[in-house]
Symmetry: D2
Subunit: 293 residues, 4 copies
């Protein structure tokens, strides 16, 4: 396929290398001259403007730092969208706000163009090795057309739903892993400050939901089945968390995520969930978010 | 062995059933007459006082709601500790503050008695099936004596270190899984509120540190080896977390743990860690906790 | 009056100096010999045991570090309560958990003794100058008997309600001022990091609820009157708070209290309060706490 | 003066009424036809386009919902900035991100135009009564030119510094009052849940920094003078906050801001500030924010 690729940074360059390897023609554009030069050396076609890069291609890929960049490229001074041939598929792999994605998608649609939001999981190493994860939002038909490209660059391609579903999945996944990073550091630091043997501690954690995740253990066993009769009572979870917060205060380990979580347990208790299973937290969160039961 | 067991509640009753099954003699005590009756029916010896239950046994086990209960039984009006024969091992499986555990252990030691803090992981179901996890603090020699009992009741026995290390490990493990419960509910609710397909979302999460844990993925690959060169830059993690917080505010999903975590990322950035790997969060947490590098 | 005073630390010593000045007889006790010596020099009667200090006095005052200390003095090994003459009033000025206060009060009552919880506001400087604030819980009759003592030591005496109400008022007041300390530091640091003139900024803050308090401005004007029609819409407050959180993240100022507060605004919005006045936050908090409207 | 006013919403309409009263000529623009009609009735000149409203005026005022709106009006399709006569002063009273303000100001400057960021304090009631507060960023000379307008609409005009300083002051002020709203609701709810008399509680709060603010009490007395010797030790503040968190957990009152604040106290303690005055929190916050001492 003929691809126009905008944004040849750490991720973009690796991704393009795999498109080229798979035999696709890739016009590239970046504001960095050095990046463009590397692109040409790698077998791509370096272009000097956004107008040029989007002309006569089947697919335009964007991998840019912010939503404002993507909007500016497509609809701003450059007005790239107006220059694309009808039916061009724009694949945006940038990490941006879903509402920006959704607005871009609807504007492109009005112009007779298609869009996939296809942000990537994993890191630049995986971009180079062609083992990224793509989380895709958009029409199935457009995804099928673009699939050869995505599979050249990635190991797994998830179709998450309509436009916005891809970027939302990415943001949710990152949300969970980025917060878990702090929680993990807090837990280990509690152990380190008390001179616990770290290897033993990790062995313990890896045998429980702490390390194995609730998604693989407690949730499927209980709340996903609609069963919130107590195996581990929410009141007890709240009590144990309170103890941990006290240990943190005494030992001098700040437990920011835990202190925040404790307040959520408190509202779950005031809402009558204390004697339910701790996985009823999901039901409580739905209530806090104003979702109907 | 001859065991005196104090606290025949949801957990205690199950634990005792496995001690009896393994052929041990178990005197039991509880303030509930019904619990005592069940104990007698199950083949145990029901006693009418704490004085009675601790007399002439090799091991006294306590499974009580709070540290105040444990202290009151051992040193309060009942003064059970004073009635035990020299060398008796007190095994406390209650979940209490480590500083209470440590104070109890040192008072018992002064009286010529031994102590193991041996709180349990998992639930009452596991207590009945004899598949608990024991996290034990105390002398290895005392643990070896008590091991047959613990192995009758549990599947895995971890020796975590000296007195206090068992209860600390339990509290840390519970801290992590109890907070992760909130984080998991937040992430799923973000998806549910946007009508994402939950199964696809979970598949995605289970393929990244979000569901596989940092302890099994990013930490061993990076910070545990002392390598914090960026694979995924902390600055980018902070940026993505900021996007998620905005999505939560827009969509009406409260993200208490994430909002707290974002502030920790901010201090990591002001402390010069923005261009390090996100797993440098562990190093930053050490600094916040006043641990020497 | 004859007073037995237990705990001659930084606060206690200053308080006693004013009792003596007012002509009361004060027996004192402390574990520190130096403190006792100073007490004798100041005109007090130094005693060598808790038994001695509580004997034949009208009032026993306790000013101790923790609830465990107070309980141990009154009901532990020393068993001071049992040695007091009937009708003795125990005034506890320690800062401890209300549930401990309430339990102590009911145990004393059973023994024919009276109790006032009378924790103090302000600092040791005020203890010396006799200008403390007393927040008192207990029977009005007992307070009237003890009033001459409290007025010798303090400038203002508040009768907050029955036992526990004094310590609760103290804890709530300290809660608010201690958290406000962090919030104030956050706000000023936002200004300092952007090089704003601090004096001008403070002038601005002192002209709005930020510095003048909601209790003196917005609450009496609105929610206290049962009026939550919007003068400043909660949705707009949430939006502005979101902007501030973004500024903090961009500028590198951690805003822990604000990030936590934003999540409370989010739940207020999901509960349909977005278009109400921002002071409807109080109504929302009542709901979160499970209070009936 | 001749003024073009863009955005005749709840705030804008009231502000314009005072400009007209003071004898200024006001062309107005809004997307709402009803708003334009009211504007004409009130004595203003209703215009049908942004091009028209900015032509041949001395000052253009914008009062719009978001930064994107302001940028779009000035530099987007309408391109209003290009149509203004040289030397026109743009006064933006919208509440937007400071970095947007700063970017707008520098673009206008390049075009030979001036800018003041002049967001307002208080509410629409004050807009109508001409008693707003203006927090102004920009050159003093431009402010002097615009002052008659601002004084027609407001009671107090603060010159906060160069462009961006006005909007930053507004955001900081709102940050503090919006978070304080949650903190105040938490404190009162603690009292309400324990059935404390609310009037007495408020009297107590209004006698301490809780209600009188640290800016008027503890900070000028201590940290602003560079004195952090302990009057109220940070360790004690942390201890009291810990008690309050426990009370909240026991009583079922979620204390989100307090739980977050406690973690900041913990890091202040691990950084060696436990025995300093509690106002040293400001110094600690500077450190967390990476400000040099």
């Amino acid at each position: 396929m003929n691809v126009g690729f905008i944004g040849l940074g750490m991720m973009g360059e690796g991704m393009v290398s795999n498109l080229l390897k798979a035999g696709h023609t890739v016009k590239g554009y970046d504001i960095s001259a050095a990046a463009l030069e590397r692109h040409a050396k790698a077998g791509g076609i370096a272009t000097k403007s956004i107008q040029e890069v989007v002309k006569d291609v089947d697919v335009v890929m964007t991998m840019l730092p912010t939503g404002a960049h993507v909007e500016s490229v497509l609809f701003g001074k450059d007005n790239a969208a107006a220059l694309m041939k009808p039916g061009t598929i724009v694949i945006d792999s940038s990490t941006i706000l879903p509402k920006t994605t959704e607005s871009i998608a609807s504007r492109l649609k009005e112009m007779g163009l298609a869009m996939l939001d296809a942000p990537v999981g994993r890191t630049s190493d995986h971009a180079w090795s062609g083992t990224l994860i793509f989380m895709v939002g958009g029409d199935a038909a457009h995804l099928e057309k673009a699939r050869p490209l995505l599979e050249a660059m990635g190991e797994v391609v998830y179709h998450c739903g309509s436009n916005g579903a891809g970027i939302r999945s990415k943001i949710i996944n990152n949300y969970m892993s980025i917060v878990l990073n702090v929680l993990t550091a807090e837990a280990l630091t509690l152990g380190d400050k008390a001179n616990l043997d770290r290897e033993t501690l990790i062995k313990i954690l890896m045998g429980t939901p702490a390390g194995r995740s609730h998604l693989a253990t407690s949730y499927p066993a209980k709340v996903f089945k609609g069963d919130i009769s107590p195996v581990f009572m929410l009141d007890l979870a709240a009590k144990d968390l309170g103890l941990a917060i006290q240990v943190g205060a005494t030992d001098g380990v700040p437990l920011a995520t835990g202190a925040a979580a404790l307040q959520v347990y408190t509202t779950a208790q005031t809402h009558g969930r204390g004697r339910e299973d701790w996985t009823a937290m999901l039901v409580h969160m739905h209530e806090l978010a104003g979702l109907k039961k």
